[in-house]
Symmetry: C2
Subunit: 418 residues, 2 copies
């Protein structure tokens, strides 16, 4: 194993003692998988961060309550995709309670063992009979192999075009080998949520490292703030965003909570999933990574990076491979970040090459002519566009991820659901 | 004249003593008009509100400085469309100074008489020789008739598909008849700017009423906050937003500054122009008006209304005529407005008919089936969609204007400028 963290092509069943499954209940008219289970063999420490939308989906309300009641001890999560179970009132909350309890019964677990998440259309209630009919099948198919992780990762998707998984292996300072893995879902209704605890989209992280729910919670909140909360696809913060982390301790060894390598492993998995969510934004053809340096403070760095990643004008320019530095500068200008326009530097990274776009607050010469055409060709070729912005106002940095705005985005979201 | 305010089909030359013109200098490759002049026969009180973007275009810097130096006394404005003269450094500011001084000379006005505004591509400098070559023609064609107002209204446009004019006539309490008229420009890079003084897009208002620059400034700031600042097309606050108000007193009579009818007349012209800007948003096929009632306070009402009008998911649903109440509720949820989701009511206004969408926090029955199909048909037919939102949290109200997000928006903004 080279280096402190090794990335592996695997999913949530890589850490020891986790089993998962995904089945199709028929909630989705496409008959794609829509029910995922993730279960730890033994009790796990659990942590969660959730949407700050004032309208909270029933699964979010239920899961937060369960995390409080169990003080972060439990066995796993049941995830429904296709319906959000949001804006469904008290009946929706009852539906979620029934669903979770029936799942616990199907798995032979005591009441209160499982958390719950959902994603999909806001408004309709969960078709409980459909789910109940497939709980036995879902439980029977739980496994800890690679395909089982894939089945779960597929069953949490909605408008996503690809499953999102990430996994790393590393060693604690006492030599204990541990794993962190995750799966995520997210393509639309994606924007940074404000105020801790916070998260965007759905994400589920497993680890066989051992630590307390309190340590987990702190690591999850801080690392999700730097990763999931810096993703924007459309600027719409969902009613259902949930990010859950399970640590079952099967790796043995020391408490991982204070180990930098453990935090780094969780952070790396979250960052990989966050990038995957941005890359798979609805209709996206390009991933945009914005690295801001030289901000006066971290809040300003975050505002600046997010304003660019979320600007509709930057996003459409990206789709058109237009090196439109005016739109980038404009977004910085209204971001709320503090800087002197004359100090602004913007660079396009192309692998190891750097193309200056703005220097000392001015577009580079020729951007309207020859240089612009060259950058246009480069942007056309790149599937991952990295912008580096230097504000010259201080030492703070932040990174945000977004994607372009294409005809595909309009197509996906303007279709009347029939 | 019926009622206190009568709307007239006219433009900025309706108030007595104003002349205008618009000519094509060739700044725009399309050879459409790109230079507008608006001049008062005699000294006018002037007021202005400007973008809060940290990157301020040279014309904004110059105009703010002149308003301060002249204490709000002057003769008019010269407007360039096609280039924004933003992100152009000290050279850009010099360009604007030269342009304005040459215009003053062409008009035989003393230095310091004119204000300045510009709109267009960010980055390039103004092609001064082109403008200078046409200043004589522009000055010679100044007139106070209806066509002259139209020429100016056309010459300030960029991606706009239609000119935006509004005019009203009314009487002060001493019986003095006065006029207020305006023209505006705005189609993209349009979003509410924060913090007074503020404005979005370009707007120029003339009146023959008499009042002080101080009274004008207060009225403009407050009425633009309720109108121009509640428009969102893409959420991008421009570097060039300027809204200027000129009062030359040619109507005679009493000071109009404290007259409610004068404020109402200015407000009505601003509201008509603001609606026109939203209706002509880039690629828009529908105007969206969001009226929020029952908010705890005005700030919350404004946040709620603006969040809906600016949501990419609401905007694409509108384009698809999809009665997607989940997206509207979601936007309210993350808007920052304080309300109990169970109290939420959302209604679609269709002329004198009302179609409930959400009642007591729940989508109305059948929205997924028959009722949804009916609303889909209604939304397909409507070119102006009025949503009424009741939060049930207090007495405050606000109205925001937006438009749908169509393939046209992407087409307009994703084209590489060659």
């Amino acid at each position: 194993m080279k280096g402190p963290l090794t990335v592996i092509d695997h999913g949530i069943t890589l850490p020891r003692g986790f089993r998962s499954n995904g089945v199709a209940c028929g909630i989705k008219r496409s008959l794609r998988p829509d029910l995922a289970l993730l279960v730890s063999e033994s009790e796990a420490s659990m942590a969660g961060v959730f949407t700050t939308n004032r309208i909270r989906a029933a699964p979010v309300i239920l899961t937060e309550e369960r995390l409080r009641e169990t003080k972060g001890h439990g066995r796993g999560v049941v995830v429904v995709s296709g319906v959000a179970n949001a804006l469904t009132g008290p009946e929706g909350l009852t539906d979620s309670q029934i669903l979770v309890e029936k799942t616990e019964r199907a798995l032979g677990l005591p009441t209160g063992s499982l958390l719950h998440a959902a994603t999909g259309v806001i408004g309709p209630r969960i078709p409980l009979p459909l789910v109940e009919k497939h709980l036995g099948e879902a439980a029977a198919g739980l496994a800890s192999d690679r395909p089982a992780a894939r089945r779960a990762a597929a069953a949490i998707l909605t408008t996503d075009t690809m499953a999102k998984e990430a996994a790393v292996v590393a060693r604690l300072s006492d030599g204990t080998k541990f794993h962190v893995a995750g799966m995520a879902k997210g393509s639309g209704m994606i924007a940074p949520a404000l105020g801790p605890p916070h998260a965007t989209t759905l994400g589920f992280i497993t680890t066989d490292a051992r630590t307390s729910p309190e340590a987990l919670q702190q690591i999850l909140a801080e690392e999700s703030d730097r990763t999931f909360n810096m993703v924007s696809v459309d600027g719409d913060t969902s009613t259902n965003d949930s990010l859950l982390l399970f640590a079952n301790g099967k790796a043995g060894g020391m408490d991982a909570g204070a180990e930098p390598v453990f935090r780094a492993a969780v952070g790396l998995v979250l960052e990989k999933l966050a990038r995957a969510v941005a890359r798979d934004g609805e209709g996206a053809t390009k991933l945009l990574t914005v690295r801001v340096r030289g901000a006066r403070d971290e809040a300003g760095a975050r505002l600046a990076a997010k304003a660019i990643a979320r600007s509709m004008l930057v996003k459409t320019a990206l789709f058109g491979a237009d090196p439109n530095v005016g739109r980038i500068a404009c977004a910085l200008g209204y971001s709320g970040a503090d800087f002197d326009p004359g100090d602004l530097e913007i660079t396009l990274q192309d692998g190891h090459r750097q193309w200056p776009l703005v220097q000392e607050g001015r577009p580079v010469p020729g951007l309207e002519n020859g240089e612009g055409k060259r950058l246009h060709s480069i942007l056309q070729r790149l599937e991952e566009v990295d912008l580096e912005v230097t504000l010259g106002a201080g030492p703070a940095r932040a990174t945000a991820w977004g994607c372009d705005l294409s005809y595909g985005y309009v197509h996906i979201n303007a279709q009347y659901r029939t």
